[in-house]
């Protein structure tokens, strides 16, 4: 018979103290997990990778990883992943007077694009986090 101890085994570093019980044993908590921070809604959050320089003004750079939450409402000035026709794009959503909708790049090189009334436009999700790597190799 296989002892139940072999199920869900975790390998812990360090040695087992056979002497006195740890005074901290009543206060054990789970280690921090970055998922709790960037993905509070695990069923609606997704990762994507950024390509290009159209959002550098919002501190989103080429090769960054972004977290997108589909459960968050696409309000004015939120950065969104949107679909226009056959392509996805990363832009700042602008809801202007007169119910006009624009997608604005955060880089003066690119013009804002009006999408008012286009039936091939939809917001895929709202960007909630940007993961930017500081050290190329760890």
């Amino acid at each position: 018979m296989i002892d139940p101890v072999f199920r869900n085994v975790r390998f812990l570093p360090g040695t087992v103290n056979a002497g006195f019980p740890s005074p901290a044993s009543d206060y054990e908590e789970r280690e921090l997990d970055i998922n709790d921070l960037v993905m509070p809604h695990p069923t609606s959050s997704y990762f994507m990778r950024v390509s290009g320089d159209s959002m550098t003004g919002a501190c989103i750079y080429h090769d960054d990883i972004i977290v997108i939450d589909r459960a968050i409402t696409a309000a004015h000035n939120r950065i969104v992943v949107a679909r226009i026709g056959e392509e996805f794009t990363l832009k700042r959503l602008q809801l202007m007077k007169g119910r006009k909708i624009f997608l604005k790049a955060e880089n003066p090189k690119y013009l804002a694009m009006e999408v008012t009334g286009r039936d091939d436009f939809e917001v895929w999700g709202v960007v909630t986090w940007v993961l930017h790597r500081q050290l190329r190799r760890i």
């Binding site: 069923t43 609606s44 997704y46 994507m48 950024v50 392509e87």
Partner: protein, 426 residues
């Protein structure tokens, strides 16, 4: 007795819908998804259902693909599995009692929930799943699981329901009118042969079965048949299956991407299938005592010499240790392999399955407890590493490295949700 209340939630054209979530280019184009080895159609988007049959071989639809610019995909199970898990997790927020019936369907039991307007509730559920996962779903409420299945057929084919149907809100006559639309073979649990048996007695629709004569039912129907009749009448006989019993047989078999003509390649293939079967066995904490292998040529190609062989080995002790299974499979292969044939398919199946905890210790057999511990521990590590670093990170050398015979998957989309290197780039 209080009436029960069930809901069935079913993702529409699940595989095709998954492909559309991360691919803007196919959002407005027809999509088909192919089976293992890219041979037959296993999912179709609604807009192409008229022209492509389920299970149709892909070579038959080349003209349709060209004419309608159909987007073709291989089955991307890593993607489908994660979207399915998200879909089921959303359902769990709505209802604690969920039976995960398949990758794209769940039954919910809501008997004790106080819901005023079920149709509204169904719409809210549909919106939440779509919002979180991008998947369109349909919902049907009824007093029995069998009725929810029937309602699902109706709600999927009639867009006027908007994807939500509450059968409990209908009067008996209205329900009957819907049941009259459902052919007897489309009733859940009625197989093809049973359907033709019923048709012989003039029972052609779900409604006719519901109102079949009592004495006739008792005389001619099996227990299963009687249960279906009761379910159609609104008496729940099939409870929610919250825990699946472990499988009594495990099979790993696939068609090769190209024909295999040498014994060494066949050894590789069978070693892989044995390893995969072992993995499935360990996932459900079971051991197997019997292993069968089979190999065969393509029986559709009548112009080539045909051969099919199989061999069964009783293992000396119940095991889930991959090398034990591989050794047995290769021994079996040696007994049946014939040179000079082009092999098309092979497989390994495991039977006489027992839970690990029920293992009988055979004092005089080849079995030694400490040995078994070591083996279990080794496989635990192998499985853990493969789970963390991806399928086949660690494998046995006999499984081969290039595996040129592997199934074809030319149209595989990226693994957007399971591999950092395959994220969607925008």
């Amino acid at each position: 007795m209080k009436n029960k209340l069930f809901a069935l939630v079913d993702a529409n054209n699940f595989y095709a819908s998954c492909e559309r979530v991360f691919n803007a280019a196919v959002r407005t184009k027809p999509v088909v998804v192919l089976s293992n080895n890219d041979s037959c159609v296993v999912a179709r988007s609604n807009d192409i259902k008229k022209y492509v049959r389920m299970g149709q071989p892909v070579f038959e639809i080349q003209d349709v693909i060209r004419e309608f610019d159909v987007q073709v995909f291989s089955s991307n199970y890593s993607l489908y599995a994660t979207l399915s898990a998200r879909f089921k997790a959303v359902l769990a927020e709505f209802c604690a009692r969920q039976e995960i019936y398949s990758i794209d369907e769940s039954f919910l039991e809501m008997t004790d929930m106080l819901i005023e307007d079920l149709t509204e509730y169904g719409r809210a559920l549909k919106v939440r799943v779509l919002q979180d996962t991008g998947l369109p779903v349909s919902v049907c409420f009824a007093a029995t699981k069998c009725l929810t299945k029937i309602g699902m057929e109706i709600v999927k084919h009639d867009p006027s329901y908007g994807g939500v149907l509450d059968l409990t809100g209908l009067a008996e006559q209205e329900q009957d009118a819907l049941l009259a639309l459902v052919a007897i073979e489309d009733v859940w649990g009625i197989g093809h042969r049973y359907a033709s048996f019923l048709r012989n007695y003039g029972i052609e629709t779900a409604k006719q079965l519901k109102y079949a004569d009592e004495t006739w039912i008792r005389k001619y129907l099996t227990v299963t048949g009687e249960r279906i009749v009761l379910e159609l009448r609104g008496t729940a006989c099939m409870p929610l299956e919250l825990e699946r019993p472990p499988k009594q047989g495990i099979m790993s078999s696939k068609t090769f991407g190209r024909e295999i003509k040498t014994q060494s390649e066949m050894e590789e293939a069978l070693a892989n299938y044995a390893a995969r079967a072992g993995e499935k066995l360990r996932q459900q904490d079971s051991l197997a005592s019997c292993l069968t292998i089979f190999i065969r040529t393509n029986s559709f190609k009548t112009d080539i010499p045909q051969y099919a062989g199989s061999y069964t080995i009783n293992l000396p002790y119940p095991t889930a240790f991959t090398p034990d299974l591989v050794r047995a499979a290769l021994y079996g292969l040696k007994q049946i392999y014939q040179e000079g044939y082009s092999y098309y398919k092979a497989g390994v199946s495991l039977t006489k399955i027992t839970p690990q905890s029920a293992l009988q210790i055979d004092l005089f057999g080849e079995f030694a407890l400490t040995q078994q511990y070591k083996k279990a521990r080794l496989m635990l590590v192998v499985d853990a590493i493969n789970r963390i670093y991806g399928h086949d990170t660690l494998f046995f050398a006999i499984q081969g490295i290039t595996r040129n015979w592997r199934m074809r998957q030319f149209k595989l989309s990226q693994r957007f949700t399971t591999q950092w290197s395959e994220l969607l780039t925008i």
